[in-house]
């Protein structure tokens, strides 16, 4: 039987000590498996759903919440991923003071470079997933070409990619 308070606190802890959509995964994986509140299959399924469902990639936690504890689990998951990012207001409040200092400003410029690099590393990870092949790279290049025009909605690009995937891999 899942204790909702403990369940929420575990999800909240994982979110507090992570940055990005998937870095809370190891902590949640460890805590829920240890209590037998989730199975490996739940995690695999939740991550798969997170990839095809709309919204930020971190919503995989919501599907995990639903799979493990129904609508209560999903609600607690939404709450747990919503609260920690509110700390950004504190960070923004401090940022004004920091930005008056050239060295702190330069450090934030360094962080901006790192943030871009992290995005590029995500691209690398995506196109090098197990099972990826040359056809997948072509799909990625095609999606890039459409997205860079700014004229094609992203949802249309991904729908087209689904169609291409169906034709190529079924």
């Amino acid at each position: 039987m899942i204790n909702p308070v403990v369940y929420f606190l575990l999800l909240l802890k994982a979110s507090l000590f992570s940055t990005g959509g998937f870095t809370n995964l190891p902590s949640i994986h460890q805590d829920l498996l240890a209590r037998k509140w989730a199975t490996e299959a739940d995690f695999a399924q939740a991550i798969a759903i997170g990839q095809v469902s709309p919204g930020p990639s971190g919503l995989w936690v919501v599907s995990l919440g639903y799979l493990t504890d129904g609508y209560v689990g999903a609600f607690l998951a939404v709450l747990a991923i919503t609260l920690p990012p509110l700390l950004v207001l504190v960070a923004a409040a401090q940022y004004r003071h920091l930005e008056q200092r050239p060295r702190a400003r330069a450090a934030m410029t360094g962080v901006a470079h790192a943030a871009g690099a992290l995005m590029l590393s995500v691209v690398w990870t995506i196109v090098n997933q197990p099972g990826a092949d040359g056809r997948g790279v072509l799909v990625a290049v095609g999606a890039f070409g459409l997205a860079v025009t700014r004229k094609v909605p992203v949802v249309v690009i991904l729908a087209a990619a689904a169609g291409v995937g169906y034709l190529l891999y079924r």
Partner: protein, 231 residues
């Protein structure tokens, strides 16, 4: 719209000098976020691109370089960066009500759809046609993410290029080493962020920084002026 007392004016203030931004009522703001939330199939890449298009290009809530600045704050904040970004953009557009509008618009419709998908997906996951479509969608999200990354890096690296060749080189090295460090050496993203902050703090210190984009010059507030001149 007044800013929260503890938050800098530049974070919470509505930009009345902006021709597009004043059209963004609270309800429309909520609608834009809800639209982003339900359209952004494919995870963070699609979401970020839609946010860029909506709030930089269409409604001009922020400029491109300012978006990069806010993103830098978001990535050092716990939790999902895009949620933190929604908090900042919500606060900028409509104060605390904007935060509620942004978060509820971004998260609740998409979370409801996610729940619905969780209910049915387990039955469909093994269907060969669905798996084939996923093999098309996944690399496409990579292509979309590349556009997001380039949109993000453009103002940052261009600002370096305008200052000096040396700074431009450092800028390129930071991006390259960060990308390879995480992708090939499997470094922790936190380590890359901290390391880049340290290198930036040591090497990228300049008393004057250029205004990387003309449109952003018009939108800057005194706090954001890098030369301290209070434009």
């Amino acid at each position: 719209m007044k800013a929260n007392g503890t938050i800098p004016a530049d974070v919470g203030a509505v930009r009345h000098d902006n021709k597009r931004n004043h059209q963004l009522t609270l309800w429309r703001f909520f609608g834009v976020w809800a639209s982003i939330g339900v359209q952004s199939i494919g995870g963070g890449a699609a979401t970020t691109l839609l946010i860029q298009r909506s709030f930089i290009e269409r409604y001009r809530v922020v400029s491109a370089d300012e978006f990069a600045r806010l993103w830098s704050i978001s990535v050092v904040t716990p939790g999902i960066n895009l949620v933190a970004m929604a908090v900042l953009l919500g606060h900028r557009a409509h104060g605390s009500r904007g935060i509620v509008a942004a978060l509820s618009g971004l998260l609740f419709p998409s979370a409801a759809i996610t729940c619905g998908m969780a209910a049915v997906f387990s039955r469909l996951a093994q269907v060969a046609g669905i798996q084939a479509m996923m093999r098309g969608i996944v690399p496409a999200t990579g292509g979309v993410m590349l556009v997001v990354a380039l949109n993000f890096l453009w103002p940052v690296t261009r600002a370096s290029a305008l200052i000096s060749r040396r700074r431009s080189l450092v800028s390129g090295m930071l991006v390259l080493s960060g990308t390879l460090g995480v992708s090939m050496a499997h470094l922790s993203p936190i380590a890359v962020l901290v390391g880049s902050a340290a290198v930036g703090g040591l090497v990228l210190v300049t008393p004057h920084q250029p205004k990387p984009q003309r449109e952003s010059q018009d939108e800057r507030e005194p706090m954001q002026t890098q030369d301290g001149g209070g434009r």
